[in-house]
């Protein structure tokens, strides 16, 4: 096992050659993307440097308050991203469902994962808490987005079937069963697919990072397996809660469709 090579500033600057090459290519071909490429490279650098210093500070001063604050910020950002993406299609009741399902689904899984699987102590140890929470929240966010998209589309394109089921005497739950099941499927498929390709098609980022920084591949793999299962749990749970509460928001107390919603 070799030690970790600390990259010097000069070595990192060498890596920016790739940006210069890309800039040269788009310039030569007349593709007007120079500005975006430069901004993206600068933002990536600045954001990571900033996060680096913040993490150094947090790791040196572990505190439950800061850990909770960071989870809260990550969670809010993820929820905001989802709500913003669907800003037009969402009505207030459905927005509340998204907020609720995202936060309860991910937080339940984060705590289960850290306390029972990894058994971190102290519970707020930022070195574990932050990256794991980040991965679970990030993946749930993607899952919820796909689930919401599929549910909204399903309710719109299959509205006549839902209506037909209702006039035949179906409960709202039975009338929307197919749409809800299809949405669940759409939301968890990417996670299942990435599990199928794991280790063969790609090495996941977390594992790559651990191996690069000197962790034994076997340890890295053990973590990767656990985190993958944690991600699956967090995605499935938050999407399940979102769909179970979400379909109901299309109906009123009298089991009537809100015709004005869509």
């Amino acid at each position: 096992m070799h030690g970790i090579i600390d990259l010097t500033i000069f070595q990192i600057l060498l890596a920016y050659i790739f940006v210069l090459i890309l800039l040269a290519i788009v310039k030569a071909r007349g593709i007007k993307r120079e500005k975006e490429i430069i901004i993206a490279s600068l933002r990536m650098t600045l954001q990571l440097v900033l996060v680096g210093y913040i993490l150094v500070y947090i790791f040196n001063n572990p505190s439950p308050f800061i850990t909770v604050l960071i989870i809260f910020i990550m969670e809010s950002f993820a929820i905001y991203t989802v709500l913003k993406r669907f800003s037009e299609g969402l009505f207030p009741a459905f927005k509340r469902v998204i907020v609720f399902s995202m936060s309860t689904g991910t937080i339940a899984c984060i705590f289960y994962f850290l306390f029972l699987v990894v058994q971190v102590s102290p519970w707020y140890d930022p070195q574990y808490f932050i990256p794991i929470a980040g991965m679970l929240i990030g993946n749930s966010m993607t899952g919820i987005s796909l689930g919401v998209k599929s549910l909204l589309e399903g309710m719109k394109t299959q509205k006549n079937l839902v209506e037909e089921a209702l006039v035949l005497g179906a409960t709202p739950q039975a009338a929307t069963k197919k749409i809800v099941d299809d949405s669940f499927d759409a939301a968890i498929m990417p996670t299942i697919n990435s599990m199928l390709g794991m280790g063969i098609v790609f090495l996941p980022g977390m594992m790559t990072g651990q191996i690069l920084s000197g962790t034994a591949p076997t340890t890295a793999i053990a973590y990767q397996i656990a985190i993958m299962l944690g991600i699956l749990g967090a995605v499935a749970l938050s999407v399940f809660v979102m769909l179970q509460l979400g379909y109901r928001t299309f109906f009123n107390k009298e089991d009537q469709l809100f015709y004005d919603l869509f």
Partner: protein
């Protein structure tokens, strides 16, 4: 059986008071957009009045569970949606929604005969014509054996000859089992020949009501 008391639904219908009788065939006629479908939806609680109330057997619909009510007052929608799958699936799906047992093939075949659909139970529905789909939706309704049938233009996709046979079958079925029909139709012939009561709807209001004695039973 149904009584409207000062019912308004948004700006669409305004129905001070009128009744629909049990065991009769009541037909709603009127221009498209006049509010006929809206009236039917008020009857099976797909929508609720924004003002006033609708009574069913003397009881305010507000106090009746919507899903259970719709199992008793079943509606054939104007452009009935057919579910993906086979003819058997589509006939059984109403029973499934009502949490009842699936019907035997024998029963299903009798229904196909009644609606004059000479197709295999396993045939996919994707290739059915508009008229065949409409009859299939009607068959789905008959299997449910509800107390009240709400039929929104049940024969709009049928040719005159089929229309006559199907409606006649329906009326007979309903009389044998002593059910109630409330239907919307654009066919003057059907309205005059098979109704007990014709109600004329105009711009969301009742413009006329007529008892018809043409039918002998």
């Amino acid at each position: 059986m149904f009584e409207f008391v000062n019912v308004k639904y948004k700006e669409i219908v305004d129905l001070p008071s009128f009744c629909i009788e049990e065991g009769k065939v009541t037909t709603l006629v009127g221009q498209s957009g006049s509010g006929k479908t809206t009236i039917l939806k008020l009857l099976n609680k797909m929508i609720s009045p924004t003002q006033g109330k609708v009574l069913f057997k003397g009881k305010d619909l507000k106090e009746i569970n919507s899903v259970l009510h719709r199992r008793n007052v079943v509606m054939l929608t104007q452009n009935s949606a057919i579910f993906p799958g086979t003819i058997r699936d589509n006939l059984n799906i109403g029973l499934m929604f009502q949490e009842k047992k699936e019907a035997d093939d024998e029963v299903l075949k009798q229904i196909l005969k009644k609606i004059m659909l000479s197709k295999d139970l396993d045939a996919p529905v994707a290739t059915l014509s508009g008229g065949e789909k409409q009859r299939l939706a009607l068959g789905r309704l008959l299997l449910l054996n509800p107390e009240v049938y709400l039929l929104d233009e049940p024969s709009s996709a049928l040719d005159d000859e089929t229309e006559e046979i199907i409606i006649k079958m329906l009326i007979e079925h309903v009389h044998i089992y002593n059910k109630t029909i409330i239907m919307v139709t654009h066919s003057k012939n059907i309205a005059e020949k098979y109704s007990d009561t014709i109600i004329e709807v105009e711009r969301g209001r009742i413009a006329g009501r007529r008892e018809v004695n043409a039918r002998h039973h």
